[in-house]
Amino acid sequence: MAAYVIRRLAYGVGVVFGVLFLLFVLFFAVTEPDDIARKALGDKAPPEVLEIWKQNHGYDRPLWPWQDWGDNLLFDHYRKMLSFDFGLSDADDSPILDRIRAGMGPSLSLTVPLLVLSLVVAIPLSLVVAFFRETYIDRMGVFLCVLAMSVSTLLYIIGAQFLIGKLLRWYPISGFDSSLAMLPRFLALPLIVGVVSGLGSDVRFYRTVFLEESSRDFVRTARAKGAGESRIMLGHVLRNAMIPILTRVVLAIPFLFMGSILIESFFGIPGLGSMTVDAIQANDFSTLRTMVYIGSLLFVLGQVATDLSYGLVDPRVRFE
């Protein structure tokens, strides 16, 4: 088991190195430091201005190791990223790490409840749909799912703000407050939007999983020994379906830290998602680079966690 984890992690490290290399190619080789500076400062910026800017951001070295083995951007990029020294934002020179720290809390306070709530809503719903398979409820459910999937998230957000926030006055239209008393109020609308907009594909996915599991032979066995439908659904089907569900969930956990880009910025939640949007709008390459890197890191960890969690749910899995 330990050997397996180590091997798995080692591959993960390889992947992270690969990601870093891709990032380097994207942000330094394709878009050379001169380009970044020019993007930040304008196309016709005089060379001296560019130089100073590059110095301030540590971009004033040769790109590749063979140009200068001691001092080059590639090694520097790896060294900084791996030591979590993310440097300054290309847009406003603030330290990126501080902003990530500050944004993590709001992001998590949105995404964690969102994940839990999505599961709590989608799984029972899809169980119901799967339970009533081949009836009008199933057909209607599937149709509604496709319908729901065909609506752009933007429309969901705009609609919810308009309807629930403005017309019905249930919750604040937007905003954020980290105090425990106020948080639920602000999160209500983003959570509703998040859950509803994902519901279509979620329910469809879980329904497929449940149907697949309920066509298995052991379900027939359970029926043959006289188990009732609800017991079969909850005791046998759901329990086996936990495997694909868990994969999906565990894999999603790392991304909770990344926040939700659309929802955060529409509802004014000062998390990593809004930060990313701000970075995009400001052509802030260094922040964006950092976010992609962190995302990949989390993804790799998530994959290892998924593999390990298989062992917990599925007795058939053993780690060699």
Binding site: R133, E134, R216, D217, F218, R220, T221, A222, R223, A224, K225, G226, A227, G228, G235, H236, R239, N240, M242, I243, V313, D314, P315, R316
Partner: protein
Amino acid sequence: MSALLEVRDLRTVFPGEGGPTPVVDGVSFDLDRGEVLALVGESGSGKSMTAFSILRLVPKPGRVVAGSVRLGGEDLLGLSVTAMRRVRGRRISMIFQEPMTCLNPVVRVGEQVVEAIRLHEDVSRADARDRTRALFAEVGIPDPEARLDAYPHQLSGGLKQRVMIAMALSTRPEMLIADEPTTALDVTVQAQILTLLRELQQSRGTAILLITHDLGIVNELADRVAVMYAGRLVEIAPRVPLLTEPLHPYTQGLLRSMPARGRPGEPLPEIPGVVPRASEWPRGCRFSTRCPVRFEPCAETYPAESHPAAGRRVFCHDVERRLPSEGAR
């Protein structure tokens, strides 16, 4: 004394392109207490569907549309879902062909048997577990205590089938449906399982509806044999006469193609052609497309039942022709 199970004119259909397609079509037979009746036929002949129809487990969208299934005089097809659930596992148990997939892979095997017991009897978990341990020992699982906590994938195919049998017998049912119980197993294991089934059947007096395509197994286990072809019963008879002097051309073909009967050095004779699909069944005798002795009425009308001897029933125009007095009745 009436039979334990009386199946009459059972008809099960699946919706198809051109209307409902029958997979079991007018099947009738009895099963006495403690008797082993083998249901024989090629794959697709409807024997498994007959079994599922008895337990009302026909997979959707198929359904039983006619006939009756009486267990001890009570029509199972008329029972409520809840009442039917009390029949399944308690009065009629079933074991399946694929022990690998028929056990829930994420639940310990002991637990699965315990569930079967506790579904029907109000016993504590501990008691149920004790009973399971005893059952495991009874079905010949070595080291039953340790095996209780094993997961299905940790057991061999033979052991899994023993677990299935233990599960099926856990509530002392009057009747067991065994659907190709040995097909998926190694030859040596097959023999063990058959022996086990025979022993259990004798010690407990459980009636068995044995579904198989293997006449060898029939020979070893069955008291009577029912042969099915394309959803229809073609011949039903006690084991010995059926195996020694089969009457229906299909039964004859089936027997001829058994390896044990062939002579060394000669190719096994086989029945020409294939079983037609349900949508392509002829109007008359279902076997008429492949029958070596077919004549005019065969393709047009379905043969009536003939009783060539006591306890024997055949559905064949040729037999009818040769037994005019019987056929006229």
